[in-house]
């Protein structure tokens, strides 16, 4: 923790947040919101929460702004000038917001200070994870072992939540399973004929390295920040990059929507399937140590490490596929033929 950085990053972050809610141009607001996520990533890095920072880097810098842009693409950019609200309404709103804000601020007084060794969280739970992770799971990155092993149940449902989010997008926008609808002319009347060959050539060289890096992030999550979520987002972003630089249809030739949906389900199945195999072998649900009876040449401790790798792969499958599905449906308004 370096207070000079803290102060400046927080000040910049507040400025960005205020700007992005007060801008009336949605496109600019989305772009400024991207800057806000850069700053939050810096702040978390600077506090030592490397895994959280990595997630923010992957989600904030990679896909969320693109999702916003894709959504703005199908609506108008500007807010209609509204009639002026009643003064009383504004005052009541302001007073409520200020009151709740003050209430929350007063609650923070009772919080333990930053990095307080006597705070409840650092007294009885953290020391257990810190001392027991290496002897029990042989995974150097404590965050990964807490995420995928000690609290594996939570992470399984997080993966399911992402899966459900993709299903919701499909249910609202998608034409999945229905017959392909007719093409509509693009809003400006021009077809997307001229794409920049420079961007295309750059992306063609670039995408394989990006996917390689994503696989490294998934596989190396035991030793460095990263894991299934981050790797999956980067993998999904590489497909989104193809879709942006070429065409939605070029990307869909590589990864059809039906296949992506299959991958999304497969990821959840891998995760819960590993848990179910543990049950069948006589352990608890998601208790990976019993896996050593079927995995060759492992001890119960190493089996936990391998089990974590297995569920991370499952998470990566789901996250990658759902990112692609959300992008395709939002960008093309559910027609999945062309967009952004």
């Amino acid at each position: 923790m370096i207070w000079q950085f803290d102060l400046l990053i927080l000040a910049l972050g507040v400025l960005c947040a205020l700007a992005s809610i007060s801008l009336k141009d949605l496109l600019s607001a989305a772009i400024v919101f991207g800057a806000y996520s850069f700053l939050m990533c810096l702040l978390w890095t600077e506090m030592g929460a490397v895994d959280v920072a990595f997630t923010e880097a992957a989600v904030g810098a990679g896909v969320s702004t693109v999702f916003f842009l894709a959504a703005v693409y199908h609506t108008t950019r500007t807010v209609k000038p509204r009639r002026r609200g009643r003064m009383l309404h504004k005052l009541v709103g302001l007073a409520t917001a200020a009151g709740i804000g003050l209430l929350l601020l007063s609650a923070t007084v009772d919080f333990p200070t930053w990095a307080d060794p006597n705070s409840p969280a650092s007294v009885y739970l953290s020391p257990y994870y810190i001392t027991e992770t290496i002897p029990m799971t042989a995974v150097p990155n404590i965050v990964t072992s807490v995420l995928a092993d000690f609290r594996g149940f939570d992470t399984m449902f997080e993966t399911s939540v992402i899966f459900v989010a993709g299903l919701a997008v499909l249910a609202i926008l998608g034409s999945y399973g229905r017959r392909q609808r007719d093409y509509e002319p693009s809003p400006t009347g021009k077809d997307v004929a001229h794409q920049s060959p420079i961007v295309q050539a750059a992306c063609r060289v670039f995408v394989p390295f990006m996917q390689l890096f994503a696989l490294y992030v998934v596989a190396h999550g035991h030793h460095s920040p990263g894991g299934g979520f981050q790797g999956g987002v980067i993998l999904g972003a590489s497909f989104i990059l193809v879709a942006i630089s070429y065409d939605l249809r070029v990307m869909q030739r590589r990864l059809r929507e039906r296949l992506a949906m299959l991958f999304a389900g497969l990821g959840v199945l891998i995760y819960s399937g590993i848990g179910a195999i543990c049950l069948l072998l006589g352990g608890n649900f998601l208790d990976y140590s019993v896996l050593h009876t079927i995995l060759p040449a492992t001890s119960p401790i190493m089996a936990r490490s391998h089990g974590m790798l297995g569920v991370e792969v499952g998470v990566a499958f789901t996250v990658m596929a759902i990112m692609v599905i959300i992008y395709v449906n939002v960008a093309s308004h559910g027609k999945s033929d062309r967009g952004l």
Binding site: F5, V32, R77, P187, F209, S224, L340
Partner: protein, 104 residues
């Protein structure tokens, strides 16, 4: 050596503040896009600097790499947006509104 990196980081953050001025005021969306791009580049460098300060560079290089890889997707997406909607006209800081596609 730590002082060198702290001062370097603070200078970068102050430069970021100047760039943020363009991102917030910047009359057109392109100005904002460029400003945010510059902020992203500075973020990549700052991540490495923080890594140097924590003596744990190998951890932070991964994040910085992810940043460098993903930073320009937004730029390309926005360029594609402007390929379809040609309206680059300035829309003021919550003051003026102009209809989509309207001529100047």
């Amino acid at each position: 050596m730590d002082n060198f990196f702290i001062v370097g980081g603070v200078v970068l953050l102050v430069l970021m503040l100047l760039t943020l001025y363009r991102a917030i005021i910047g009359p057109t969306a392109i100005d904002r896009l460029m400003a945010v791009n510059v902020i992203g580049t500075k973020t990549t460098v700052l991540l490495i600097i923080i890594g140097m300060l924590f003596n744990w560079v190998d951890m932070f290089v991964d994040i910085a790499l992810a940043y460098a890889l993903l930073n320009f997707i937004v730029t390309i997406a926005t360029s594609r947006y402007f390929q379809h909607h040609k309206n680059l006209s300035p829309i003021g800081f919550g003051i003026r509104h102009r209809k989509e596609g309207a001529r100047k």
